[in-house]
């Protein structure tokens, strides 16, 4: 029988209530979860808040986590996904003006406002084009380029084979390229 990997042991420890294990999982996943949420929401402040909520929710529920047919990463991303959906719903019902990045997110004086504007446009264009992809393609692109997950990790999160993820990744980028060209966000090849 294969020896359980390190994450498996930490997750088991977290299920038993170990704060150390929770800390370990936080270090392993926080940045990815934060990026994932940020890409979905585009608001760093809310992404930060929601990321914290994801881990608090994880503490509440980790004892019920089951390995059968699932990975811890996919389970954690499912929590993050639900948090994002909840947030979007709330914002839909109670329209809010997103907080402008403040304090630490304020551009430094060295940043050229024009460059910043271009970056913001580029991001918005990408997100707009991504929203036109299929759900699975968009999810792969988000996890790959947003969260920085490897193909194997995406496969685990999405509970699909690596081959399927590679195929979705390729078709997703192809579609994205076409849509960017169609929208005029990218030059025709």
């Amino acid at each position: 029988m294969a020896q359980p990997d390190e994450e498996h042991l930490w997750v088991e420890s977290a299920r038993a209530g170990s704060p150390e294990a929770i800390g370990w999982l936080y270090e392993r996943y926080f940045d990815r979860i934060y990026k994932y949420i940020y890409i979905k929401l585009g608001d760093p402040t809310e992404a930060e808040d929601l990321s914290e909520q994801v881990f608090l929710k994880m503490i509440e529920s980790v004892s019920t986590f089951q390995w059968q047919g699932s990975t811890f990463a996919s389970w954690l991303y499912r929590i993050a996904h639900n948090q994002v959906v909840d947030s979007l719903r709330r914002n839909t019902r109670r329209p809010q003006v997103p907080l402008e990045p403040v304090s630490d997110f304020l551009p430094s004086e060295r940043d050229d406002p024009h460059i910043l504007a271009e970056q913001r446009d580029s991001r918005d264009h990408l997100l707009e084009a991504i929203s036109d992809l299929t759900e699975l393609q968009a999810q792969v692109i988000m996890l790959k380029f947003g969260s920085g997950l490897s193909t194997a990790e995406i496969a685990a999160v999405m509970e699909r084979t690596e081959g399927a993820v590679k195929a979705l990744q390729y078709s997703g980028l192809q579609n994205l390229q076409k849509k960017m060209i169609l929208k005029g966000y990218a030059p025709e090849v």
Partner: protein, 696 residues
């Protein structure tokens, strides 16, 4: 060599494990260069998606809060063993936990032990037990698993009959006031079975009418026995009894009509009942005062020591005992009605045989000196007539039940001294039934003297008790003072006649042998039949009927002595302890929905139990869903279950999974089943937007 696909090539380039430049990457896959180039260029634009980094201080602050929350959660469930393990654990990766120490196994093992304990404790629990609601909840679960309406009726009826046994036992223990849960549950099962039966037609309706009719007769018989006890019960219990009696009456009438319409003789229905119902058709006899030890003046105690028949029965026991002064004369001891449990005979009495005239079980082995007649859970239909031999006083006869040989009801675990002297011993403070203040001696029966004959054989008195004026001497009950008083055999034995062999088998009294009409109005006649047993046993007669048995009129000059109670085991009426809580005490405070894991939604329904005890309740949760663009709600899923709600606020919870995509709104209805209760079902519903992003 396996050909690299473009998907593999793209994946390699995006991962870039060797940290190559774009051109270098494309050079590795020249066949895909044209296709990969634009895609890698596009991928580079994703750098704009990288969020601003969170400052380390704030990131650490978040981690501190998360770890603190984990520590708080751990503290809530920490056990010493875990604490030790935690201290021993370094920051290195944790060691694998042995399977038997994994929380799941430990919890499962503890749960299994708990379940076994609770199950064992609840199986025989009575309404005054903490586990009684567990028992009811278990029954409710089994009821939910019952399929067809006919099966449900049978199950409800069976449970109702079980409640009748519970209630009879509680009455015999003078604890009816604590039996509200049993009353409620009986009412629930009765009304449920009737409600389902009302929906049936044709042959099933007739067939099940038999079961319901028998059960209703059993219920009416049992409830009729509560009549005199009702006054002392709490209002809530009295109301339950009253409403249940109405339901019983209706059920009895309706089923009788259906049976009559089908030309089915009601008597034949009752004749063919199962053995476990038979005892329910006999009136309950409430707890009576123990019979005091006789100390009749003018007689001497038997030299060889008196026999004592000790009854620790929880059910009615009739004891008919004729004892000779030698050791060979048979003694008849009858128990009735059918179900006798934990009745012991001791000492000096030896069971020699146990003919069961109308039953299926033999319970008393021959040769026992202290014998359990029946096991704790045995049901012995019919009449037990064990024959015992022993030494002791001539005649023991203890009370009577209407239309039967007689009965002596004793409280649980209460030793019942039958008497140590001769004469007829009659407990006169039996609260119920009214007709049974004493048992007349059969016509012609002769008291057996209590003194010890020189030849060791029983002696027959030379005279009999004088019948009261106006009573036919051929059918003369032995006069009995309706007090805890032994009627002394007032005679002087002059001969040693053979012991009549039929004196101890007492025939069932007929109408003509019921207590004689009192003619002596000078006898004090307490009229309050509901006076509870007086703990001090002051021998004040408290007959339950209005007839005044005549004073004994012995022909000799011996004066009946005032009995001196020596038995201190008088049942002391316990203070009424109200255990009042029913479905109607439950109030659903709210229904909440939250997003659960793996696409499920979790719901919780806090319920406030405003009663004085835990309440087991069946509930149903219905999830209605409204699809995006849909016109209305459709039932998405249903869950049902049973929960024991302790006093105060507790919650029923559950999850709905496998929900379809495209749900716009959820509506959750939570309702507690109040069938048979005089209140609307406690319920609540809530409507929320779908915020859970449920996916197929």
């Amino acid at each position: 060599m396996e050909r690299v696909t473009i998907q593999d090539a793209l994946d390699y380039c995006l991962a870039n494990p060797d940290d190559l430049g774009v051109e270098e990457l494309l050079d590795k896959f020249p066949e895909y260069r044209d296709q990969l180039g634009p895609l890698l260029g596009l991928a580079s634009r994703f750098e704009t998606l990288v969020p601003p980094a969170i400052p380390v201080s704030r990131r650490d602050a978040i981690k501190s809060r998360v770890v603190a929350a984990a520590e708080a959660a751990q503290a809530a469930r920490r056990v010493p063993l875990q604490a030790d393990r935690k201290r021993a654990r370094s920051n290195a990766a944790p060691r694998p936990i042995p399977w038997y120490l994994k929380p799941g196994w430990v919890v499962a093992a503890v749960a299994a032990v708990l379940v076994a304990f609770v199950w064992w404790s609840s199986a025989t629990a009575l309404p005054d037990s903490l586990f009684y609601n567990v028992k009811l909840a278990g029954e409710s679960i089994s009821l939910n698993l019952t399929g067809s309406p006919a099966d449900k009726i049978r199950r409800h009826t069976s449970l109702a009959n079980s409640r009748l046994y519970d209630l009879r036992t509680m009455q015999e223990r003078s604890k009816l006031a604590d039996a509200k849960a049993a009353f409620d549950n009986y009412s629930y099962n009765l009304s449920s079975s009737v409600k389902i039966w009302d929906t049936l037609t044709g042959e099933p309706r007739v067939e099940l009418a038999r079961i319901l009719y028998v059960s209703s007769v059993a219920g009416k018989t049992t409830f009729a026995s509560f009549a005199t006890a009702v006054r002392g019960l709490p209002t809530a219990v009295r109301e339950t009894i009253a409403s249940t009696e109405l339901t019983l009456s209706t059920a009895n009438t309706n089923t009788a009509q259906v049976l009559a319409a089908a030309n089915i003789d009601l008597a034949s229905v009752l004749d063919g009942i199962d053995a476990d119902i038979t005892p329910l058709l006999t009136p309950v006899v409430a707890a009576a005062l123990p019979v005091p030890t006789n100390t009749t003046a003018g007689t001497e105690p038997p030299t060889d020591g008196p026999p004592t028949i000790t009854a620790n029965a929880v059910l009615t026991v009739t004891v008919e005992a004729s004892l000779a002064t030698d050791t060979t004369t048979p003694v008849a001891l009858e128990t009735t009605p059918a179900d006798s449990t934990r009745t012991t005979i001791s000492p000096n009495l030896t069971v020699t045989s146990l003919p069961i005239t109308d039953g299926t079980k033999t319970a008393v082995p021959a040769g026992s000196t202290a014998t359990t007649i029946a096991g704790a859970t045995s049901t012995i239909p019919g009449r037990l007539t064990p024959t015992v031999t022993g030494t002791g006083t001539p005649v023991r006869r203890l009370t009577a039940t209407p239309g039967a040989i007689g009965s002596l009801t004793v409280g649980p675990g209460t030793p019942l001294p039958v008497g140590t002297q001769g004469g007829i011993l009659t407990p006169t403070r039996t609260a119920q039934p009214p007709q049974s203040t004493y048992t007349p001696l059969p016509p012609g029966a002769t008291p057996i003297p209590v003194d010890t004959p020189s030849n060791g054989t029983p002696v027959v008195p030379t005279h009999t008790s004088t019948p009261p004026p106006g009573v036919d001497g051929t059918n003369t009950p032995v006069p009995v003072v309706p007090t805890d008083t032994i009627v002394p055999p007032a005679f002087t034995p002059t001969s040693v006649p053979p012991v009549p062999t039929s004196t101890f088998i007492v025939p069932v009294p007929t109408d003509t042998s019921v207590p004689p009409t009192p003619t002596d109005t000078s006898v004090p006649t307490p009229t309050d039949t509901s006076v509870p047993p007086t703990p001090t046993n002051t021998s004040v007669p408290t007959p339950t009927d209005t007839s005044t048995p005549p004073l004994p009129t012995p022909t000799d000059t011996s004066v009946p002595a005032t009995p001196t109670p020596t038995d201190t085991s008088v049942p002391t009426p316990t203070a009424t302890m109200l255990v009042a809580a029913t479905i109607c005490d439950l109030h659903v405070l709210d229904v909440g929905i939250s997003c659960g894991a793996a696409g499920c939604i979790d719901w919780t329904a806090p319920v406030d139990n405003r009663g004085a005890a835990s309440v087991a309740a069946d509930w149903t949760a219905k999830l209605w869903i409204k699809m995006v663009g849909g016109s209305g709600y459709v039932l998405g899923d249903t869950a049902s279950g049973s929960t024991i709600f302790p006093v105060g606020t507790s919650s029923a919870t559950g999850s709905f999974c496998n929900l379809p995509a495209g749900v716009e709104k959820f509506k959750l209805e939570f309702e507690i089943d109040a069938t048979g209760y005089p209140c609307p079902p406690p319920r609540k519903q809530t409507v929320v937007d779908n915020q859970c992003g449920v996916v197929p």
